[in-house]
Amino acid sequence: MNAPSGVIEGGWEYVWAAYAVTAVILLGYAASLIARYSAERRKAARGEKGAIEVLS
């Protein structure tokens, strides 16, 4: 892969791979966080509604 001048030629496929992996992991983690957060929020809301029903 090393050209005689010592400069690495090409290698764009590695650049794309690195950026794609970064985007997939960061966006995927963000999506999983948002999903987990809204699930917990729903659960908490349900719990509070249940408590109010029991108390009244």
């Binding site: 892969m1 290698g11 791979a17 908490a44 719990g47 509070e48 408590a51 109010i52």
Partner: protein, 244 residues
């Protein structure tokens, strides 16, 4: 660490604002890095990986350092909120360092012709990745919340103290390695995308940690809330905040 009253329901737009800004900054910085910045003299276009690799490295280290600070605060102050942030910081640090190892392998292949070249920084990251995965597993397998908080804080302090030892042992063990890439050693046309991405990933990291801490906090509130009375069997356990 017994009252759940010290755990208010999390609120505020911080993670959304920081996350949106971080994502925009990261996208713009990557655009400049990919299409505007010139190719580097020796590394050629492969150098462009650095614009995401180096910010990831900084922020992975930052997340673990924040986890270490949280662990100390848990041990000294015994505050549940720091336990939630500890869990969040460890998980985000694990995600970032896993990403870092993958990027490092993709970088090493065209540069040195191998997927993994035992560079001390990258190898230290890999070791820390597994150490903190172990702590996440520990949190998963301990059911008592106050034990879980104390133990994971202890394990975090112990694992974080290992970072310099791992670094130096790997460095001596594999003495050939290359110079650090910080803005000082990188010439000026490369600064702008690197700085933009560094702040972009930093904002994203803050957003992730804050959102993940909220998830932890909601879970903890449920765990700490008193069990429902027997006659309330079908209903969920009331959260302490809601039963006022």
């Amino acid at each position: 660490m017994t009252e759940s009253a010290a755990l208010p329901p999390p609120r505020g737009p911080l993670p959304w604002v920081a996350g949106g800004l971080g994502l925009a900054l990261l996208a713009a910085g990557s655009w400049i890095g990919l299409f505007e910045a010139p190719a580097e003299q020796h590394m050629g276009d492969v150098q462009r990986i650095m614009y995401v690799h180096v910010p990831t490295a900084w922020n992975a280290m930052l997340a673990f350092t924040f986890a270490f600070a949280c662990a100390l605060l848990v041990l000294w102050r015994g505050d549940w909120r720091w336990d939630c942030r500890l869990e969040a910081a460890i998980e985000v640090g694990v995600v970032l360092s896993a990403l870092l190892c993958i990027q490092g392998a993709i970088w090493a292949r065209p540069t040195w012709g191998v997927w993994w070249d035992w560079d001390p920084r990258l190898t230290t990251t890999a070791v820390m990745l597994f150490a903190f995965i172990g702590i996440l597993a520990l949190r998963r397998f301990v059911d008592d919340p106050s034990r879980r908080a104390a133990w994971s804080a202890v394990a975090t302090v112990i694992a974080y103290a290992d970072v310099p030892l791992v670094y130096f042992s790997v460095r001596w063990w594999n003495s050939l390695h290359q110079m650090q890439s910080t803005p000082e050693t990188v010439s000026s046309p490369f600064h702008l995308p690197l700085r933009m991405n560094a702040f972009g990933v930093l904002l994203l990291t803050c957003a992730f940690i804050s959102l993940r801490a909220r998830v932890a906090q909601l879970r903890l509130r449920e765990e700490l809330s008193p069990p429902p009375p027997a006659w309330a069997a079908p209903a969920r356990a009331p959260a302490t905040g809601g039963a006022r």
